[in-house]
């Protein structure tokens, strides 16, 4: 089991739960593992980094929530000062600036807020202003002493998921727990990277289908590129024949938990209840997994 003193310098153990394919059971593992860890007396922060489809709050409800908006800097042109010289347009790597008539204009959703256009403008006509893209909500979880939930939520119609994920992780780190559980978004692109980079262990949840196998390999590549210790949870065992064991063996990544397909899990989950409360078998599997964590992480780090 993880202890506060094991992580060294009081830094929490950061467990990232991810998968290439969506719907493999990240949220199931994250919510139940976080609740079980808190029940052992650890201070646990669950951070929902799936900001386009955040669901942890449906299973763990917060008593007192506080919300803070997430804003990103976006360039803005003062048309009265702009000479339409086009330097900002030429400098912008994202094609976010165009010249329309006598002035440059910035397309908000393409701007990444790097500030280069501000730098190159000879007329000082480009300014930066914050734009809201979503929010971070956090609070203690009802009925689970020691457990806090931090949820990121992308505003509908916005596109800057990674900015919100970074804010979620900053908020989770500020809560100073013994264990931070990161529930990552599906995929292997910038959002997934923002959610898992720098974690102590990347726990990949998969299912034994051809899709699960294909997407697990993509996640393993991402974890390798990010230099993260990795382990696999095989969920819905029995629903397919794909050779997850073979893939994990060839990558030297251990399968640390197996969750059989069970209609009862699906039914409890569907209601929005914690499966570990209803099914002692699942609680047992996840408790054993939690006990393994620091060991796996250290072993892999040393073998790198």
């Amino acid at each position: 089991m993880i202890h506060a003193d094991q992580a060294g310098g009081g830094a929490p153990f950061v467990l990232a739960i991810a998968s290439g394919k969506g719907g493999t059971g990240k949220t199931l593992v994250a919510t139940n593992a976080a609740a079980l860890a808190a029940a052992t007396g650890l201070r646990v922060v669950l951070a929902d980094c799936d900001v386009e489809a955040p669901n942890d709050h449906l299973f763990l409800r917060c008593a007192r929530e506080s919300a803070s908006p997430v804003s990103v800097p976006v360039a803005e042109v003062d048309p009265s000062a702009c000479s339409a010289c086009g330097r900002c347009r030429d400098a912008c790597a994202y094609g976010a600036v165009r010249i329309l008539g006598a002035s440059a204009i910035v397309f908000d959703e393409l701007c990444k807020g790097c500030g280069l256009c501000v730098e190159v403008c000879p007329e000082h006509a480009v300014l930066e202003a914050p734009r809201r893209v979503g929010e971070v909500v956090s609070g203690p979880v009802e009925g689970h002493p020691g457990l806090s939930l931090v949820t990121g939520r992308l505003d509908v119609g916005q596109v800057k998921s990674p900015s919100i994920i970074r804010s979620v992780r900053a908020a989770a780190a500020a809560l100073a727990g013994d264990l931070v559980v990161l529930d990552a978004p599906p995929g292997v692109a910038c959002s997934a990277v923002a959610a898992v980079r720098g974690s102590d262990l990347l726990l990949l949840v998969t299912e034994p289908t051809v899709f699960g196998l294909h997407d697990l390999e993509l996640s393993l590549r991402l974890g390798r590129d990010l230099d993260l210790p990795m382990a696999v949870v095989l969920n819905r065992e029995g629903t397919g024949e794909a050779d997850i064991e073979g893939l994990c063996r060839s990558w030297g990544v251990p399968i640390v938990a197996r969750i059989p397909f069970d209609r009862r899990i699906a039914q409890v989950y569907a209601r929005g209840d914690l499966v570990a409360d209803a099914l002692p078998e699942l609680a047992q599997v996840l408790t054993e997994l939690l006990e393994l964590l620091p060991g796996i992480s250290r072993r892999e780090v040393m073998s790198l």
């Binding site: 969506g22 800097p73 790597a93 280069l116 916005q158 292997v188 980079r197 294909h214 990010l226």
Partner: protein
Amino acid sequence: MKSVVVASGKGGTGKTTITAAFAHLAARRLRVTVADADVEASNLSLALHVRDLSCVEFPGGSKGAIDEDVCTGCGLCVRVCRFGAITRGPSGVYRVDPFACEGCGRCAFECPVGAAVMTPTIAGEACEGESVTGPAAFGQLGPGEDLSGKLVTEVRRLAVDAAERHHSDVLFIDGPPGIGCPLIAAVASTDLLVAVAEPTVSGAHDLERLADLAARLRLPMRVVLNKADLSEDGAVRVRRLCESRGLALLAEVPFEPTLAVLLETLAEGTEGIPVERASGLSEVAKAWAAIERELGLGERAQELLVRS
């Protein structure tokens, strides 16, 4: 040509399986092209056995790099980088973390000695091929890349071109999970959004966020409830949401026998599954019949039949 995007908000609800089932059903009467817009975890080509692939590299933006021999260690690049991508190593050498670099070029612009340079990258690849239901396009983004929206747009372009060359009647796009940049790119100028929901609290929650996005984009959206028999509570939740939001629920597809297994049999070319009779597929067929009617594709199918 009509285009239909299959999306879900939540991942793993069965988008790919439903898209593949639609393609099989439609291909019996119409000319079909398919595209996989989930470029982070592209699976439609596995479901529809795409072959005769031709792939081209998809260029990424540039990323910063620092020439150690030229760098004087002034640290200006660290201060101007908005993405925290530049760090000073133990030996005083500065380096750019490619996973954090957003490629803006500010370090290269500001470096007084020209040590920071921008180098082009490959973000992934875009592929075309032939599936069991007709032409197919898909893409795969490299790990950690940030251009999924742009690659989705490219896959969409490849698919539309292929569909035009083959005079397709309908283009099916298997959408990415979520409601962010990749999905918004996938639904550009589409005729209909079909949301695949699952009977869980999270399925309902994410369906609602997808409905909000569709409303904002003024995109007509219909719903298919997948794995409907896994939870009656969850199914009720999705039905109520559809009712309260005025979303047409086209079909309720049962979990067992799994649709994926039936589709695998179809993709292998084994004749003899009477599609409408196989449990699961009959519900998808009901949804497809409604979509076909709504998009006026039934008449098109009649025309093709008469001509042949």
